[in-house]
Symmetry: C2
Subunit: 177 residues, 2 copies
């Protein structure tokens, strides 16, 4: 059965399966899933947003004094690494024209996307809470790097915004096996 | 077809459907889904955690000076209202022994759970960022209601922790239609 094949198998093998009991069909590759152009675009956007967010945060000298900003840097870094890894897999799958609709692979992608996107979202919320606290509640934006902090947080949010479709599409694909 | 029935229909009608083309089967009611004892327990836990979080936050006089804590109160309140509403639906469905595995109903529950649980999670992360900032980074816990803020945030996190299975089970059920 197709479940026992190697992780990367030809696209035309996936939908059909022999045997008396017809296996449930896998979801067709729709744009945004791994091994599609849409998926690669999503990964590239995540990577670019995470890289810009990290760069902006690195321009401030005092981000390390706030735990939430350190967490944002760590989460953006992890998201960037994961997105790079996934983009490379997408490029490989596109070049050799293979589908990645394999149960174990989809489970791995869903797990990884779930962990990284949730960590990024949590870091964005914590950082946003701090920037609003410094700006609106304390009114001390003039003596802090508020604009850099806000920009880095916004870019990390955009990164999460591009990571969410990847996660939901993988989860949907896994659920509809 | 079962899709055109009233929103609440007998459990025994759901899996089977006549006609030439067999409709895809709905996921069986598993514990934690709406109209199950497990689902009702989850809703009750969400409601209790949200209510305790709100009560603890209400004992502090100055939570309204921090935007993130106001947001936590609003999100916990919304989660509490949604959980109460869903608990009442669960009680009704259990009393009349009906299933809620109807496409529109599951879509509504998934949408509602998605909105409320994500809002709660965002509020928890923002509040946690502030409490860590006040406690660890500024070291001003002695002149603030740190313990109350931390307890309210922890309770809201527990509330989200119980809301997540409800959301994921509904999403899974919707995806496996």
């Amino acid at each position: 059965m197709s479940m026992n094949h190697a992780s990367v198998h030809p696209a035309e093998d996936a939908p059909t399966g022999g045997g008396g009991i017809a296996p449930r069909e896998w979801m067709k590759d729709i744009e945004g899933m791994p091994a599609t152009i849409g998926g690669l675009v999503l990964r590239s956007c995540q990577l670019i947003a995470a890289a810009i967010s990290l760069s902006i945060m690195a321009t401030t000298s005092d981000f390390s004094s706030v735990t939430a900003f350190c967490y944002l840097v760590a989460a953006s870094g992890l998201q960037g690494i994961w997105s790079t890894f996934m983009a490379l897999i997408d490029i490989y799958a596109l070049l050799v024209k293979r589908s990645l609709q394999n149960q174990r692979m989809v489970m791995l992608f869903t797990f990884g996307d779930g962990i990284t996107s949730n960590l990024t979202f949590a870091a964005v919320c914590a950082s946003a809470g701090i920037t609003v606290f410094i700006d609106n509640d304390l009114g001390r934006c003039s003596i802090n790097h508020c604009y850099q902090f806000q920009s880095a947080t916004a870019l990390a949010f955009i990164c999460w915004f591009f990571a969410l479709p990847s996660y939901l599409l993988n989860l949907w694909s896994l659920a509809s096996q």
